[in-house]
Amino acid sequence: MANGTIAIDDKSFLEEGTTKKATGIASWLFSTDHKRIGLMYLIAIAIFFFTGAILGVLMRLELIAPGRTIMDAQTYNTIFTLHGVIMIFLFIIPGIPAVFGNFFLPLQLGAKDVAFPRLNLLSFWIYLIGAALVLISLFVEGGPIDTGWTFYIPYSVRTTTNVSLAIFAAFVLGFSSILTGLNFVTTVHRLRAPGMTYFKMPLFVWSTYATAWIQIIATPVIGITILLVVLERLFGVGIFDPALGGDPVLFQHMFWIYSHPAVYIMILPAMGVVSEIIPTFARRTIFGYRAIAMSSLAIAFIGYLVWAHHMFTSGISETAAIIFSFLTFIVALPSAIKVFNWVATMYKGSIDPQPPFLWVMSFIFLFSIGGLTGLVLGALVTDVHVHDTYFVVAHFHYVMFGGTGTIFFAALYYWFPKMTGKMYNLKLAKFNAALFFVAFNTLYFPKFIMGYMGMPRRYYDYLPEFQNLQVVSTVGSWLMIIVICLIIYNLLSGLLNGSKAEANPWGGVTLEWHIASPPPLENFHEIPEVTHEPYDFSQLKNMKYGLKGESK
């Protein structure tokens, strides 16, 4: 190093921060170290996720019997809105990129940090400010927002609840997302270790890179849309108000021009994690590396052209509807390519069914159901029947929660030993994964059936014939909250009393497994020279930390 203090070899980033003066919690809050920032995001996001899940359970409790059970209709409205806003803007969109992207992108590239470490810290702070604004909007006069997470016009202009502040929070969170995105794109372009060509990058890097582009390109559109709604509420400009010549459907277009690509912000990083975990536990190089990498980019670009499939019943022209329906079918292809390649990777592999791998198995199953039912919604005839019913609710929980949420847990179990240097209870973790699968399907599968039978979404009451299925679903929500508590318990007790983890417990070969656990402040004492393909397991025997941590 040219100047500055040289990091002492044995200290990890947990013991030594980037801040010399600050100590204790301040040495975290002001740290520009990508690993500490990643962990801080993890803590914040875990808290929001848990809050969101509790709100979900409360809704399910209300729905255990027809009529009013534990809350009135207005409370139900605010709770599903909050649940949606928290889960979408605070958990699933930032989730994997902010936590694991921050932590592992530089490690997998062989870099010491992201391109703009201070900007990275700023993004984290902006994220916190956004979250604080959401909180404040709950308590100031007017009461919590009740529009649903989609903020549809005209209700979002007419309601007297605190819409302006809450959606301004979404604007702020979007800004944080943009800054993270441009940081990651620059990092990938500028900080790859020598020898790491684009096609030697791990697939998690590829998918995070594609995601970062979507964050950059799509997020500004929701930014301006939100500003327009706020201005509409404050001044009555008329852009979306038919009484003044405006057009409410225009809002839906602008909202979905962002929010459809945003579903790829949610799922792409998860697909990247899957592409890491499967080779490691199948001990076999990934099948179709280039196809997987390129399909991420394909998803990123085609994903822009399908937004109006959310609006088939909003009064768009028939021609437009047919075109958007067709494009929606096209965008399913790259996802399918990935699924086939993952399955092909496992074929004839020597599979080691450790917890992260079991989570990935759940993912493939749940995500496939979510994806296939997406086609039901993408087809015009069937969509008209199930639009705005529980079918949609089931579909998006299968893709978002069953897809990205599951992989969030998989990634936690996969990288936890690397991040903390500790190991959790493997048996309990396997049990977790199995229980999750049962809980998930109990909770959401009945919603497909109810939706098909005509149960509308966002209702706090229902006809008696739905009760049996509603009760099954509610029981599922109890199982789910147990699973979530078990995961938190397992990881926390691993952190506090777990045994010391080996540097490479799973026998991974991407760059993060070449260094100690937890990594030192500067990641690599020497920037590595990359010679192998990313998933070349023949290097395992020559690695410093080979399988089971026998240090060479």
Binding site: G4, L191, G245, M254
Partner: protein, 206 residues
């Protein structure tokens, strides 16, 4: 930006990376405005003739004057970068100051333009405006939103330029390390560019 804490590891310098980050950021700002251009296009198409009538009311000479001011300021900021690269710090500082002054002049003009309009009772929600046909209401709505957001960009750019001006004076931005100045310049060109589109859309097309 001042950092409350100290880095223990060697600060890493990558001018190409910094410039790239700035370009990406400008791209997002452009897309933000892109949403508004989209709305404009939709409503211009729908209310073609009323947009023409409303546009006649705008003050072409103030708009033209502001265009000249902004274009000149883009020139001065570009010259100031060139001056710094050649080591002419004093000249560079002067040129940046001129840029700042031009930016302020733009805002002053804008203030007069808006306040005359408001004085005539043309502002969102005003009684006078609500009595006009729909297309004109939307035209003025967009006029206030788009030029207002642009004015916000001017203010941000002004702050950005002034901070970098401080760096040039203290010498932390200098002949060998001027990427911050370049980035401020880039931002300023963006502000200029957006205006180059706003001006014809509101004042010229009839």
């Amino acid at each position: 930006m001042s950092n409350p804490t100290e880095l223990t590891h060697a600060p890493h310098r990558d001018d190409v990376g910094a410039r790239m980050g700035m370009w990406l950021f400008l791209f997002t700002e452009l897309l933000l405005f892109g949403g508004l251009f989209l709305v404009y296009a939709v409503y211009r198409h729908e209310y073609y003739s009323q947009f023409r009538v409303a546009a006649l009311e705008l003050n072409l000479s103030i708009g033209a004057l502001n265009t000249v001011i902004l274009l000149t300021s883009s020139l001065t900021v570009a010259l100031s970068i060139g001056a710094l690269q050649k080591g002419q710090k004093h000249l560079s500082v002067m040129l940046l100051l001129i840029t700042d002054i031009l930016a302020l002049a733009f805002m002053v003009n804008k203030y007069f333009e808006w306040s005359t309009k408001i004085h005539h009772g043309i502002y969102p929600g005003s009684e006078h405006l609500l009595n006009l046909p729909d297309g004109q209401i939307l035209f003025y709505g967009l006029y206030y939103i788009m030029t207002g957001l642009h004015a916000l960009y001017i203010i941000i750019g002004l702050v950005f330029l002034t901070i970098v001006l401080g760096f040039v004076i203290t010498g932390s931005v200098n002949k060998d390390s001027y990427v911050k100045l370049e980035n401020a310049g880039l931002y300023w060109h963006l502000v200029d560019l957006i205006w180059i589109f706003l001006f014809p859309l509101f004042y010229l097309i009839q």
